[in-house]
Each structure stands twice: as structure tokens, then as C-alpha cells.
Amino acid sequence: MTTISAPRSDPGSNGSRAHAQLERYPIMRELPDDGTLTTQLLAPLWTSHPAWKWLFMASGALSLWFLFAMGVTFARGIGAWGNNIPVAWAYAITDFVWWIGIGHAGTFISAFLLLLHQRWRASINRLAEAMTLFALVNASLFPILHLGRPWFFYWLVPYPATMGVWPNFKSSLPWDVAAISTYFTVSLLFWYLGLVPDLAAARDRAPGRTRRRVYGVFALGWHGSGTEWRHYRVAYTLLAGLATPLVVSVHSIVSLDFAIAQLPGWHSTIFPPYFVVGAIYSGFAMVLMLVLPVRHVFRLHNVITRRHLDHIALLLLVTGSLLAYSYLCEAFGAWYSGDLFERYTMLTARTRGPYAVFFWIMTAVNVLTPQLFWWTRLRTNVVVLFVVGVMIWIGMWLERFVIIVASLNRDFLPSSWHLYAPTWVDWSLLAGSIGLFSFLFLAFLRWVPFVPVSEVKREQREIAFESAYVDRDGAMPEVTR
């Protein structure tokens, strides 16, 4: 075990530049000693917030409604939706892409930022990963739900069938299956691995034998011995390395569901980067929506500081601007191609067509709102952050809707142009998926340590160590082991 023979100096007392850096928005503020900190962070597991029960029941009811809407779809057929020819894909696929996109922030935070040594990730990564998982649960439901004959969904998987027929590997849909299932598996493992030490902590502090046993089972008998920690770090980093390319690959592949088609509005080479950026964008928007209330309710201001909010806001600013650039490229490409149909879809139908209002809302929300974050004060203003988060969350759903429906409803032959209107089932599936997400997330908040206790403690140690040892030039001396 690495022993740091450092005098416990109160962070902030030392006035170095590097330290001043951290000083402005420290990653953690006036943290107590490990024991108290652990108690603080695990406290939510033992006591239930009064509002929790009602929220939990509400979201549970909504999830049941989700199940019912699915039942209608399976019993009656896709006809229960508003889909038609030409608009054969609509809400379900919009929801699918939307949830997949949201599911990107988690792994991005935990894997990407881990590899990049972004310490601030520590306090929020568990929340983000949980969000990812629950988003993926929804995302993986919709494609199956969307099939005309869902009971044959396994035909998309390459397996030796007695029919002697294989999936069509030229189509991007079988790639989807592979991409999403891989992503889900890795995210789950990654999340669980990170949990183990905290589960052990929970096991050790749980009041009552039953809880201790339950947490004990999931803690897999974690002792916190040096060996365990060493293996743990290696495994964790490896998984991070494995997950990182997935962040890019999954949504690239999802984007190909559209890009390989020759439909104006889909047929575009910029889709993969465009979709990945959009995904991370929407993901962080939702992280904000989740982190801010949690931080407020559970008084986590000392572990989730303004520093985190500031960074998330900056990420939104960057991804938002990239997205704006993609929008621009799309439109320009259409114009520059000189193609009659491309131009009509991108320049006429989008801006003046039947769904123009959604297009303009989407553009306004996704392009303009993040620009607020050029101002530091807004970056750390909780209210602004939350509002913007919600707006982007909706804006990104609209983006997918516009891409899918507004492209399909007016394609090549004007004779086949037709509008799309969702039915109550379409709405129920959308609302229900949000319900299911909330249900799972609330359960997570209640029974799982949602702030990575061990990591926070580790980061705290390192920060303390650094701030103690940083010399005038901000260089760090050898650590003696």
C-alpha cells in the first residue's frame, strides 16, 4: 500500500500558483477525515428522504404504463403507432437514438476523463455511469419494440440457423445489436467494479445484519487489502481503456443507421462525429439535470463543487459549438451538392416545411443556449445550469425527431409525401421510458452508494498531498515509497 508520509496540512493554506488554480474552485472543500466522510456519503443509504417514496411510486406507475403501451404494441401491431409510409420510423427510433445518446456521458466521464487524469470526475462518475446504464436499458428496448415481428429479434444476431441463412452484414442494424450489447456489458462491468469497494464500506457500516449480508454479497468479500487494491486499479484502468473506444464507436454505428441510407437528410458522411458529439452533449445535459438536485438534496456541496459544474458547463459549451458546426456543415453540404432533392430537404423542407417549428426550436436551443457558458458566472449558476440542461435535453430529442421524421415525410416523389402524427401509444412509450429511467435511478439513489466514496477519499488524499508538497515553481518532488 502506498504510504504517503505527508503532514496533514489543511488544503488552501499554501499559496502556490498550482494551488491557487485549485483554490478558485477546489474539487473538494473542507472535507472531514475519512471516517466522517464515509459516514456522510453513505448516510443516504440508511435514511429515506420523505419525498423519495412518492417519487418512487409515481415513476413506478409510469413504468407500468410503459409496460402497458408495449403490450398494446405487441398485441395490436405497429399500427397502434402513428407511423406510416413514407414515415416508417418515427417516435420509437427517435427515443432510441435519444436514450443511446444520453447513455454516452457516463462512460465518457468515467473512462475518458479517468484516462485523462481529470480528478473532478471522481465525485460524479457513479451518478453518470448509473444514468448511462438506465438510459441503455431504455435504448435497447426500443429497437426490439420497433420490429414488426419482435419475437424474431434474434434473427439479427449471427448464429447458425437451421434455415441456413445469416444476417445481412451490409446492413447497419446487425452492427447496432453488436455495438449496443457490447457497450451495455462493458458499462455494467465498469460500473459494478467501481462499486465494489463502496459496497464493502456499506456492508461494514450497514445497520442490521440483513443489510450487511445483502451488501456483503454484492461486495464479493472485499477486504481493501493492498493486493486487492492493486488488482482493482489495474482492472479498472483496463476496463476504462476498453470502454473509451466504445464511447466513439457506438454512436458512430447508430448514426450509420441513417447515413447508409440514400434519403436526403440522412445520406451524409458527417453523421458519425456529428452524432457522437450530439450524444455527449445530451448526456452531459442530463448529468446536470440529475447532479444538481442530488447535490442539493443530499448536501453534497463539499464533494460536488462549483468546479464540477464549471467543467460540465464548459463541456456543454464545447460540444454545443461542435454540434452547431455540424448543423452548418449539413446545410452547406446540401447547398454545395447542388442536388435538387438534398437542397429541398435541408434548405426548404427543414426550414419552411411542416416540421419547421421543431427545427427552429431545436436550432435555437442546441446552438444558442450553451453559448451562455462563455460567462463564468453563468457556468456556476445552479439555476441557469439546470434550466439549460433541461432545454438541451429536450432540444436533442427534437433534433432526432427532425432528422428522422422531417427527412422521411418529404422524400423524392411528391406523390408519396405524407405527414406524421403520433398516437397516444407513441406518447406513452416516450413518457413511459422516462418513467422507467426515473424508477431505476431513484432505486439507485436509495440503495446504492451514488458517490464513489473510496475514489473521493483517494482523490482527496492526492490533492492534499500535492498541495502540501507543491513547491514555489509548482513542480512536484519525488514521492518516496
Binding site: 408495449m70 409510409i85 420510423w89 440514400q262
Partner: protein, 980 residues
């Protein structure tokens, strides 16, 4: 309009999902559905039900299970026969096709003929004979109406007996009526059909001196002028006319069609010069044409007395049209035809006869024959006479033989009430319809596919009607009922037929056994057509007619309402036919409704738009009707289709559309001269199969001609784009190696009328379900072959584009590479295959199809249909389940059968394959075949300079090509009636 409420009722006959809105979910549903939701994974139970095999007890002579047989028979419509060949699979009629030997068919079959198959299997047909409320038997009826019994009621001379039936051409019926006359000298027979008009006969009587009807030979015509006449898509001989006109166009592209019509018709959309003119204006135009032609004819030496130009009443556009058309006519005197429509008064028919006479067409392109219809135009064709008789009493027994007159009669006659008052009424009808409900006796009528009989075509050619199946519901024919009345109830119709024909010796009826079997086999009696007559026109009659028309003048302020036959339900006879109700109107694409069609200008004056409900008023009669605004419609005219707003027992028909008969009177049964239209502020959503008519400047890549450009160029033929560059050079079609056939299709837009016969033919051949009005409004029609309609340009005088759109069987199909499960792939012989049993329904293929010709089974459309309807299904085509994609297969079942046959015969080349659409096409606009045979018609037309691929620039390399329409240069001298 309170039809909203009736909607669910209307939809009962459609798959539940399609019909009942998902909005309602019973509490019990809730749990089951919840369960279904939970049990999402557990779906596939692969065990198939064990169906037993039932061999014949005694195998019939020529029936081999799995081998279809074809029989020739004829379908009577408004009395006139159209010859058909009917396919029978082990005793079930499953498909109706044209009879090449029949003059009215020439091998083609219209939408109505095709769809009459579904009528046979209609689950709503009356199934039991009844008297009052009680069930009755045929014997009971025969006993009650045998002369012995009946004469006690109606008197020995039958003074109290009246028979009412639709106009008939049947020699058998004629002879039976004769016998009835012998049995009851004082009994009277009346003929009525809502659409029938005696104007033509009346005109012939006055101007030609005899009851004659005009016959035409379009193959010899260089100029055809149709005055309010949809010659190519409606009428007893329209299949023949369309074919002849198409042949003429193919032979000499300079042949011209000029149309003046109130409401756009398929014929109008093909016109070189089309003029939107109200009904009264058409009459004035006829007069103007007479004058102009005479003036033009002076130079050619043919002069006549009439000189005054009555063109004064006409608009500038109309005058220009008349001038141009008259010049054209005069230039082709002797090789032109002027046709006048049924709805025009007799005077206009007189003028038309005069025109043909003056142009010297009579004898070359036009001649006359006696009418095929019994006593056509006679006094006994006047319903009001009968009505007055019934009102005054004295009629004890009224026998109505089909035709549902109580629905179709003009409202002022109030026939339902009058008939209800008669003590003893017998109705022979297929449905428990409006007439059945006021009749004492109701006898189920046999479908023509269930009955023996005979009928004449428009030119008099006689056909034997032979049954393909025993009556499903014990139906009887009019002849059988007449036989009972005439006192010979025990003879089967077959015997009656033979007797009648033997007695009609020497009138072209077959007498020998061989003649008879030959007539049955060929479907026509050789040489039974009427002799031609070429009488001269009486000048005084013409002058008289001109005077009347001039006196009547042209309606300026008041609005005219014309009552036109529905493209789908005709006069209401086919109202219960789902195929037809869902068949989009050839011009407006309207389904499941009728509407007040009007010009954009008129609509804007009224401040209404499509879907707004207006109140139509004729005198004190009013009718609320949704509006459908149609470019090219004559301003001041409103067209309303008949046959809707049914209140009878036909579940499909009930509540669909409004009843135009409510506005018709016996004085003005076809056109209400002065009507009023006012807005109601209400609205009713119409189900349009196509919601966007403008072509958005994509004409050159879709229909192969760019609107504006054509106007200036002499010919519309453009240099065709070449196949796009590709890395993978396609292997040229060759006779050796796999795929010795390379299937392809060419559709000639120059002769396509958009009549939609192919759409129904495809539906019948390929087991395509009906989705109901809701389905159409959600754009979920299942038609594999649809007719795209583009209406572009100035709203008063637009360009009409017609384009049959079906799977293009692209050599580089966008649908194929996106299917995740290989459910749609390419066959070696160039078919884009759709494998239903492999499809999981991602619908990606449809998204990626630029032609949007793929159809998805949103619900289990085929699961819910009635047992009888199942009998209509073609056993050679898979019944698609819910959740799978489907589309045109080029009738692959026919291709594979042909290939297997040729292989069994040891024939290296595949025999000819005819697709269902191709077979039905009246103009033979559809050509199908293999490209590997350089001699084949399809190969030839692929090379035609007019041939092009739709959306060529996408590089899909379709196997369906179109021949661009030939349009003539804009004769800049005339502003109106621009060349289209």
C-alpha cells in the same frame, strides 16, 4: 356531417386494429396487454396446426387440385355485357380477366369487372329468402306467384302486376318478358337505372329518324373530340375505345384528342386540348363547333344552311378552344370523331350527330346500330310514369328485379314511400338494401358468377353467362323469377336459356350443340353483332336543336351540379365492395367518400377549401357535402359522384359519403341547372390517397418531361440520361448462365389513362388487403401498384401527369442492402425478391426506397376477414402476416409457373409471362418480358427514345421504365385550351 359517429360502424368489416381507434382499451384488455408486454420475449411458437388432407370422394372429370381452370363468361353492367375469363381454383373463382374474343373487352378488364369477384364473396350479401319478417323458401314463392295463385290477386289479365327492373340486353329476359306478356296482357314492365339516359336515343329519333346508338372506330380517327364524355374510362364500351385510341396513338402520334368537360376525367387528362366548361357551356360549344365546322368546311365545298355563330355565350378560352378544335376537325374531315356524353341533353346529341355527319365521319369512323338495351329510350324507361301509377293505387303486386331503385330513384319520386305502400312487393336483390327494406318479399339475387344467363354487348354481340360456382346463398336470377311469373317455375335457367335460344332461331343464336359449346368456350356468339346503319341527319332537327340550346343559354351566375357515376361504386351497386371503396379516384385520388368537386377559383369565392362542408341546394332540396378542390374543374360547376350515402344493410357502404340522389329530380336527373352552394363552417376529413399534387419542379426526373420546357419544344421527347458511372460494371443480360430470363417492364405514359384497372387486378391477384378509411388517412394503403397523379401549372388549365408507380425492381436496389435479415434480395433473373417469412419488419427498406412502393402490414389485415372472403384469395400467393413488409413481385408466381412449365416441356426458353396489371390494362400501356430476348417487345421499348427511368440520377437502375408522354407544341395563336 354526422358521419364521424358512424365511422366505427362503417369500419366493422376491417381488421379491428385498422378500424377501432387504439384509444379505447377495455379493463380486461389492460391486463392481457400488460401480460403481452411482459411476455415480449416469449413469442415464437413454431408448432404448426395439423391440417387434415381431404381427397375427393369422387374426383370430378377435369378438376385437378392445384391446376387452375379458366371459363369464359360475361359481366352485365347497366345491361351491357363485358366478356371476361374467370380463373377457378378447385371450384373457387379467384381472378377475373378480360376475354380477348369479346368486343367490349378485347382482353382487358376494368376495375369494376375485376372487383366484382369480391362482390361474389361479400359476407354481407343477403343469405336467406324472406317474406315480411319470416323466412321463406323458393317453393313458397313459386307457389304464391304462379299464375294460378297470382292471377287471383292481379286479375286474369294482370292489370295489377308491374315489373320494375334495370335496363336489360338479355335475349332470354326479353323472351321471358314476352311470355309474361302472354300470361298477363295488362301487366307492364318498367326499366330504371340511376345512370341511364334516353337522350341519345331521343336525339337519334329526331335527327336520324330511328332509335339508334352511335358506334365509333377510334383506330381510324385522327382527331377525337369528346364533349363531356369520358370515353376512355366509363361507359359500356370504354375498354374497347381505350384500346383503339391507344393503338391509334401508337400508330400515328399525331392523332389528337380534344376534350371539353366540366370535371376532369381520365379522358381529359390525356387530351391535347382540354377545356374546363360547365355542362351548359358544353352545349353552347357544340353549337359553336357546328357553325365553325361549317364555316371551315366551306373551303372543302361542304356547305350547310346554318351560319349564325352562337359563340357569343362563350368565354374567350372556350372560343379559342372551339376555333382550334374546329380547324383540327375540318383538317381531318372524314377521319375524326365527335362524341357527346350521356349527361348532355338530346339537343347536344343531335348537334354531335350533325357534326359527324357534316365532317363526313359517318360510314368511316362513325356508324349507327340499334340499341342493345330492350326498348331503349322507350316510354317504359320512364320511372315517374310507374310512380304515378303506384301512387294512384290499382297496382297490387310490384316485382322489382334487382337494381335497388328505392336508393337510386330521383328524390322527387319518393319511390321508397310509394313502393312501401304497395300491398305485395317482391324484391330480388343481392343485399338487404334500401329497396329490400320496403319490400314484402326479399329473394337473394345470384351473382353473375353464380348464374346462367345471356347479355348483349354495346354493339349487340351476344354472350352466354355461365356460372362458375353454385349460388353461395341460394341466390336466384331475374330470369328464374320471370319464369315463375310466366308459369314455368320448374325449368332451370340453363334449360330456359337453351329453349329461348332454340326459339330465337336464325337470329345469330347458336342452335346446334356445337354452336352452343363454342359460344360457351369463346364467351361470345360469333356474328351476333348488329348491322351498321349510316342514316343522314335531318337539317330541321339540327336547326331545332340549335335553337333550343341557344334559348337555354349558358349558365353564368347560377351554379350547375352534375351527378356523375362514381369511378368505384358506379351507381351504388358496388358500394359494399372494399376493393372499390379504397380504389383512389383516377383524377382526385379520393377514397371512401364522394365530395363536391369544384374549381379553385370557385372555392376561393365561396371561401371554402378541401374538407370544408358546404350545403348544396337544388330548389328546396339540400345536401351537406365536403368540398374537394380540383384544379382544371370548370368554374361554376360542381360534380358529385353517385352511389354513396347508402342506408341499407351493406356494412361496408353504410355511412360512406353522401347520397347524391337526394338532389336529383326526375326532370333534371343528370345535371341540376341552377343550384346554390353555401358554407356550413363544419368540416369533414376526406381520405385522399395522395395529399400533394404539385410536382415541385421534379418533372424531368419523375415523369420524364419538364413542364415549362415542353410548351416551347415541338416534341416532349428528351435525350435520356445515361446509366450512372459505377465501379461494378453490370454483366450484360445473356441467354446462358443463370438467369437466362431478365425480367423487365415498360409503361407507356402516352396512353395510360390512369383508369386504375391494374390496381384492382393487382389487388385480386396478390391477395392485397383493404385497410379502411382510417388506414388511408394514415397513408397505410396496401396497393402494390398505385397511380400517381400530378396536377401542375395554372389552376384553371393545369397539366395532368399520370404515372403508375410500382416496385421498380432496381438492379441496384436501395432496399436490399439495408435489410438486416436478408429478407429482400435480388434474384438471378433480375427480380427484387421480398421474402415475407424472413421479414422481421424493421421497415428500413421502405425508408430507403426512393419510390415508396413498399407496403407494411401495420395490423393483421388478413387475419380478421370473413370465411367467404378467404375464398377469394389466390392460393399461389402467400397471405402476409402482421408486421412484415410487402411489395410488387412482378407476379413472381406467374413467372415461376411459366418457367417450371417450360422446363417440364423441355423448352429452353420460358413461355410468355403476363402480369396481372398488364393483363387488365385496356390500353396495353404495360409491357412485360425478358430483356435477354432482343426481339421481345420489352427489349424494343427499353430502347425507345421516349423511354426513361424514374429518378434516374439516383443510380438505382430500375427494371421498370416509362415511355414519356408525347405532348404537342403550344399553338401560341390560341390562348385558351393550351396544348397539354
Amino acid at each position: 356531417m354526422s358521419r364521424r359517429v358512424e365511422q366505427p360502424e362503417v369500419n366493422l368489416e376491417f381488421p379491428p386494429g385498422a378500424a377501432d381507434p387504439p384509444e379505447w382499451v377495455s379493463r380486461r384488455d389492460f391486463l392481457t396487454l400488460l401480460g403481452a408486454g411482459a411476455a415480449m420475449a416469449a413469442g415464437a411458437c413454431m408448432r404448426r396446426p395439423d391440417k387434415p388432407i381431404l381427397p375427393y370422394v369422387e374426383a370430378p372429370a377435369d378438376v385437378v387440385p392445384g391446376m387452375p381452370l379458366y371459363y369464359a363468361t360475361a359481366m352485365p353492367l347497366d345491361g351491357y355485357a363485358t366478356g371476361v375469363l374467370v380463373r377457378s381454383n378447385t371450384g373457387r373463382p379467384t381472378k377475373i380477366e378480360g376475354n380477348p374474343d369479346h368486343p367490349a373487352s378485347l382482353g382487358a378488364s376494368g376495375a369494376l369487372e375485376q372487383a366484382s369477384l369480391l362482390e361474389l364473396y361479400d359476407p354481407h350479401r343477403a343469405e336467406a329468402m324472406r317474406v315480411g319478417r319470416r323466412r321463406a323458401t323458393w317453393d313458397a314463392f313459386a307457389a304464391a306467384f304462379a299464375p294460378a295463385a297470382l292471377s287471383r290477386r292481379v286479375g286474369a289479365r294482370g292489370a295489377g302486376l308491374r315489373v320494375l327492373m334495370p335496363p336489360t340486353t338479355s335475349p332470354l329476359t326479353a323472351s321471358l318478358l314476352g311470355r309474361l306478356g302472354e300470361a298477363y296482357p295488362d301487366a307492364r314492365t318498367h326499366f330504371f337505372a340511376p345512370l341511364a339516359s334516353s337522350a341519345r336515343i331521343a336525339a337519334a329519333r329526331t335527327s336520324l329518324g330511328a332509335a339508334l346508338v352511335p358506334q365509333y372506330d377510334f383506330r381510324a380517327a385522327d382527331v377525337v373530340v369528346a364533349l363531356d364524355a369520358d370515353i376512355l374510362a366509363t361507359g359500356p364500351f370504354h375498354l374497347r375505345y381505350a384500346r383503339e385510341w391507344a393503338d391509334r396513338r401508337r400508330a400515328s402520334p399525331s392523332a389528337q384528342l380534344h376534350v371539353a368537360e366540366p370535371t376532369p376525367s381520365p379522358t381529359g387528362t390525356l387530351a391535347a386540348r382540354r377545356l374546363g366548361a360547365t355542362w351548359s357551356a358544353v352545349a353552347a360549344i357544340a353549337t359553336a363547333l357546328v357553325d365553325a365546322v361549317h364555316r371551315d368546311a366551306r373551303s372543302t365545298g361542304r356547305v350547310s344552311g346554318t351560319t349564325d355563330a352562337s359563340g357569343g355565350a362563350l368565354t374567350p378560352d372556350a372560343r379559342a378552344w372551339v376555333a382550334a378544335v374546329a380547324a383540327d376537325l375540318a383538317a381531318h374531315a372524314g377521319h375524326s370523331i365527335v362524341v357527346c356524353g350521356e349527361r348532355q341533353p338530346s339537343d347536344v346529341h343531335v348537334l354531335t350527330n350533325a357534326l359527324n355527319d357534316a365532317l363526313g365521319n359517318v360510314g368511316t369512323t362513325v356508324w349507327y346500330t340499334p340499341p342493345a338495351v330492350l326498348n331503349d329510350g322507350g316510354p317504359d324507361h320512364d320511372l315517374s310514369a310507374l310512380a304515378t301509377e303506384l301512387r294512384t293505387g290499382g297496382v297490387d303486386t310490384l316485382v322489382i328485379l334487382d337494381g335497388n331503385p328505392c336508393y337510386g330513384a330521383p328524390s322527387d319520386i319518393e319511390l321508397s314511400r310509394v313502393v312501401g305502400a304497395v300491398h305485395n312487393t317482391v324484391y330480388l336483390g343481392a343485399y338487404d338494401d334500401e329497396t329490400a327494406r320496403v319490400s314484402t318479399w326479399h329473394l337473394p339475387a345470384a351473382h353473375y358468377l353464380e348464374s346462367w344467363g345471356d347479355a348483349r354487348a354495346y354493339d349487340g354481340t351476344t354472350s352466354v353467362i355461365q356460372p362458375l360456382i353454385a349460388p353461395l346463398h341460394g341466390g336466384r336470377t331475374a330470369d328464374e323469377v320471370l319464369a315463375v311469373l310466366a308459369g314455368q317455375p320448374n325449368n332451370s335457367t340453363h334449360d330456359l336459356l337453351r329453349d329461348a335460344w332454340n326459339s330465337a332461331r336464325g337470329q345469330g343464336a347458336p342452335t346446334t350443340e356445337s354452336d352452343w359449346s363454342e359460344a360457351l368456350r369463346r364467351g361470345v356468339v360469333a356474328g351476333s353483332a348488329f348491322a351498321r346503319a349510316t342514316p343522314a341527319v335531318r337539317g330541321d332537327a339540327v336547326a331545332q336543336a340549335r335553337a333550343t340550346v341557344a334559348a337555354r343559354g349558358v349558365a353564368r351566375e347560377q351554379i350547375e351540379i352534375g351527378f356523375v357515376p362514381s369511378h368505384a361504386v358506379h351507381d351504388g351497386r358496388f358500394a359494399d365492395n372494399g376493393w372499390l371503396q379504397e380504389l383512389p379516384d383516377p383524377v382526385t385520388k379520393l377514397t371512401w367518400d364522394n365530395a363536391a368537386l369544384m374549381a379553385p377559383a370557385m372555392a376561393s369565392r365561396l371561401g371554402v377549401a378541401t374538407n370544408d362542408v358546404v350545403k348544396l341546394q337544388v330548389g328546396d332540396r339540400a345536401l351537406d357535402t365536403p368540398v374537394l378542390v380540383v384544379p382544371g374543374h370548370a368554374d361554376g360547376a360542381v360534380a358529385l359522384a353517385m352511389g354513396y350515402g347508402r342506408q341499407g344493410g351493406e356494412a361496408v357502404a353504410r355511412g360512406v359519403g353522401v347520397n347524391a340522389n337526394a338532389l336529383r329530380t326526375s326532370q333534371a336527373p343528370h345535371v341540376a341547372p341552377s343550384a346554390a352552394v353555401s358554407r356550413t363552417g363544419r368540416s369533414h376529413e376526406l381520405a385522399l390517397a395522395q395529399t400533394h399534387w404539385a410536382i415541385e419542379g421534379r418533372g424531368s426526373s419523375i415523369v420524364g418531361e419538364d413542364g415549362e420546357a415542353q410548351r416551347s419544344t415541338a416534341s416532349s421527347v428528351q435525350p435520356r440520361k445515361r446509366r450512372p458511372l459505377t465501379l461494378y460494371e453490370p454483366k450484360p443480360p445473356s441467354r446462358d448462365g443463370f438467369g437466362a430470363d431478365q425480367w423487365a417492364m415498360v409503361i407507356d405514359l402516352d396512353v395510360c389513362t390512369g383508369c386504375s384497372a391494374c390496381v384492382v387486378a393487382c389487388q385480386a391477384e396478390n391477395n392485397i388487403p383493404v385497410v379502411g378509411k382510417d388506414g388511408v388517412m394514415k397513408s397505410r394503403e396496401m396497393h402494390w401498384l398505385r397511380i400517381d397523379r400530378y396536377i401542375d401549372g395554372p389552376p384553371d388549365d393545369p397539366r395532368f401527369e399520370t404515372q403508375p408507380m410500382l416496385c421498380q425492381h432496381c438492379e441496384k436496389a436501395p432496399c436490399e442492402y439495408v435489410c438486416p435479415v436478408n429478407a429482400t434480395v435480388h434474384s438471378e433473373d433480375g427480380l427484387n425478391e421480398m421474402v415475407y417469412n424472413r421479414c422481421v419488419g424493421t421497415r428500413f427498406c421502405s425508408n430507403n426506397c426512393p419510390y415508396k412502393v413498399r407496403r407494411f402490414n401495420w395490423f393483421d389485415y388478413n387475419g380478421e376477414i370473413a370465411e367467404t372472403e378467404r375464398m377469394a384469395k389466390n392460393p399461389e400467393v402467400t397471405i402476409r402476416a402482421r408486421g412484415v413488409m410487402e411489395k410488387c413481385t412482378f407476379c413472381v408466381q406467374r413467372i415461376r409457373d411459366a418457367q417450371m412449365a417450360s422446363r417440364l416441356a423441355g423448352d429452353p426458353a420460358t413461355g410468355p409471362v403476363v402480369t396481372a396489371c398488364q393483363q387488365s390494362c385496356p390500353t396495353q400501356a404495360i409491357v412485360f418480358g425478358s430483356l435477354t430476348d432482343p426481339e421481345s417487345e420489352v427489349s424494343r421499348q427499353f430502347g425507345d427514345p421516349r423511354s426513361f427511368s424514374a429518378l434516374d440520377e439516383l443510380g438505382t437502375v430500375p427494371r421498370v421504365r416509362y415511355l414519356a408522354r408525347r405532348r404537342e407544341a403550344d399553338s401560341s395563336d390560341s390562348s385558351g385550351g393550351r396544348a397539354r
